[in-house]
């Protein structure tokens, strides 16, 4: 079966001009301009099957949004192939546009001066949704998201969280086959984030929609995605299941223990475990190989005055942070799993 999204060596190059600051700089730039070419996305290839939820990760400026813009047909790639549901997005034919949705957390797509319901009614016409479907979906989504009372309030009077929920509703009204979510939970409080994640999961379960999501919140990725694609400097750096991603830096588990009194940090048990103590010597963080996790933990719990015991909740957060701080890890990744693309 053909993948629902497939991209081959997709590249986008931007050209911009250098300009020195100030008035003189402006005059100079009239005479001679130095142009800078930058590849925002560089030979990016991947395939996505129907119904997958993909987390697209990378630091700011890595090219995530540029990719999303190419996927939705907003900008035209400089070179390479891209096919989504058999369409080339940059052709922007109506059949393609009818079957995708884009949610931008940073940007409102709803009209500011009118109630969300008015926007929804307009979108209903744009996407040719029948009245019955429309009413059913509005009813269902607004109940799930808890915004039923707010449908007729002017959008500019909504809080960020409420507006984001409306944005989500607006982009899902036409039951798209592929959804692009660009930082959908940015700036939201924890409860709203949680609501939105749950809602996306429900929607996915019911409709088997293909979803690509970018986010800087690892909690989003952890809750929603099974597969991660990492992009660094416009190039794909990792593509594979989350479980593989967690092991990029090795398969050790991070575990922390809290004790009711100061401990002897020189004891043998801490050797070779990357022990990281707090000042009072009452809390320690250890890295323990997966296979000896049980044995080592048992020993500590048995012989030392442990009051608290934690294993790491989101290893991907640590991996992500380490990679962003030391991108050279990705360059020297010989011998790692098949998902790694070393440069």
């Amino acid at each position: 079966m053909q993948s629902i999204i497939s991209s081959q060596k997709l590249t986008k190059e931007f050209q911009s001009y250098k300009k020195e600051p100030g008035f003189l700089g402006t005059l100079k730039s009239f005479v001679s301009r130095e142009s800078i070419r930058k590849k925002a996305v560089d030979e990016f290839s991947f395939n996505i099957e129907e119904g997958e939820i993909i987390g697209l990760l990378g630091p700011n400026g890595a090219g995530k949004t540029t990719l999303m813009k190419m996927f939705t047909g907003i900008i035209v790639p400089s070179s390479g192939e891209l096919s989504i549901m058999g369409h080339r997005p940059s052709d922007r034919d109506k059949q393609f546009r009818k079957n995708i949705a884009l949610v931008m957390g940073q940007k409102s797509q709803l009209w500011w001066d009118i109630p969300a319901m008015d926007s929804f009614l307009l979108l209903q016409r744009f996407y040719e949704v029948s009245d019955a479907d429309f009413e059913e979906r509005i009813e269902e989504m607004s109940t799930l998201l808890g915004v039923k009372e707010l449908l007729n309030v002017h959008v500019r009077k909504l809080s960020l969280g409420e507006r984001m929920k409306m944005e989500l509703m607006a982009s899902l009204l036409h039951n798209p086959k592929v959804i692009f979510l660009d930082e959908p939970t940015i700036g939201l409080d924890l409860v709203a984030q949680e609501n939105i994640r749950q809602f996306i999961l429900d929607f996915h379960r019911k409709n088997n929609t293909t979803i690509i999501i970018t986010s800087h919140y690892m909690a989003d990725v952890n809750a929603l995605c099974e597969r991660l694609v990492l992009i660094f400097d416009g190039k794909k750096a990792f593509d594979g299941p989350i479980s593989e991603f967690e092991k990029i830096l090795g398969s050790e588990k991070n575990v922390s223990f809290t004790f009711d009194s100061s401990q002897d940090t020189a004891a043998e048990i801490w050797n070779d475990r990357d022990a990281d103590w707090n000042e009072n010597k009452t809390v320690v963080e250890l890295r323990i190989p997966e296979e000896s996790l049980r044995e080592v933990s048992l020993e500590i719990l048995k012989y030392l005055p442990v009051t608290e015991f934690n294993t790491e909740k989101m290893p991907i957060e640590r991996v992500m942070k380490t990679l962003m701080e030391n991108p050279e890890i990705l360059r020297n990744c010989e011998g790692s799993g098949e998902n790694m693309l070393c440069r």
Binding site: T65, I75, R92, R97, D118, R125, F126
Partner: protein, 266 residues
């Protein structure tokens, strides 16, 4: 109704809601042009004619000069009221991205909002002229000329819309387009007969202008409203031709520009 017409109709309705969202603003839109007219144009011409309102300046006495400028105001309200300066901002700030995703084209959306605005503007102009007629500042022409005046002016508004759309599209290349718009406004203000009746200009200039769209934008429709017949079809044909030329150019500009679009800030 076909599905596509429904899209147009709903866009017109939503735009209408947007335009009338602020009541004070709506009210000012009605009162504004009349106030400007009285404070500036009426006073100016009264001063020029001075003690002797019956004297003729190139065939106009004070009353007919005032009539000319009242219709000039109405023509401007209907023909040039719509300002699409939001569009260039939208392109520059990357706000047109959402319109590129909807299965309803960008130009369709803008044209529908324009039509919606024109309904509103027609209503406002109607109220304005009714007030001026009621206070005896101006007389209505015969139904025939009134009908053609309104129809023709709507035609002009389509021409202006095409031109403004073009200025907006240039934002794909230019950082700022307001200077273009200001220049356009000043030049047409002079050459179209908005500031002074064209009868005040030298003959050679007037006959030269015949070949440009300018006189057909203000002078010509004013004459229709004043019930002074000139062959109607020339105006319709001229403006129609320019609309077709403008729309074709816009289509080409759009096709080139959209390839350059970077959706900055999205």
């Amino acid at each position: 109704m076909s599905l596509n017409l429904l899209k147009w109709w709903q866009t017109i309705k939503v735009s209408w809601v947007k335009y009338t969202a602020y009541r004070l603003n709506f009210f000012l839109q009605i009162v504004g042009p009349v106030l400007v007219f009285f404070f500036i144009k009426y006073n100016l011409w009264s001063a020029i004619y001075g003690e002797n309102p019956e004297q003729m300046i190139q065939g106009y006495n004070l009353k007919s000069m005032v009539t000319y400028h009242i219709w000039s105001m109405i023509v401007t309200m209907i023909g040039q009221g719509h300002a699409s300066y939001n569009m260039s901002e939208d392109i520059r700030m990357g706000r047109i991205s959402s319109y590129l995703i909807y299965p309803f084209n960008f130009w369709e959306f803008h044209t529908a909002s324009f039509l919606s605005f024109q309904f509103l503007q027609l209503f406002i102009s109607g109220v304005t002229i009714a007030i001026l007629v009621a206070f005896n500042f101006v007389e209505l022409p015969s139904t025939y000329f009134l009908f053609h005046g309104v129809l023709y002016t709507l035609f002009i508004s389509l021409f202006w819309f095409t031109l403004q759309y073009m200025a907006g599209l240039l934002s794909f290349w230019l950082e700022e387009t307001w200077i273009l718009r200001v220049l356009m406004g000043i030049v047409t203000g002079f050459l179209s007969g908005y500031l002074f009746p064209l009868d005040l200009y030298p003959d050679w200039l007037v006959s030269l202008l015949q070949y440009t769209p300018f006189p057909y934008l203000t002078y010509y429709p004013i004459k229709i409203f004043m019930g002074q017949p000139s062959p109607l079809w020339i105006g319709y044909a001229m403006i129609g031709l320019w609309i077709i030329i403008g729309a074709t150019i816009n289509h080409l500009i759009w096709k080139k520009g959209i390839k350059l679009y970077t959706a900055a800030g999205m």
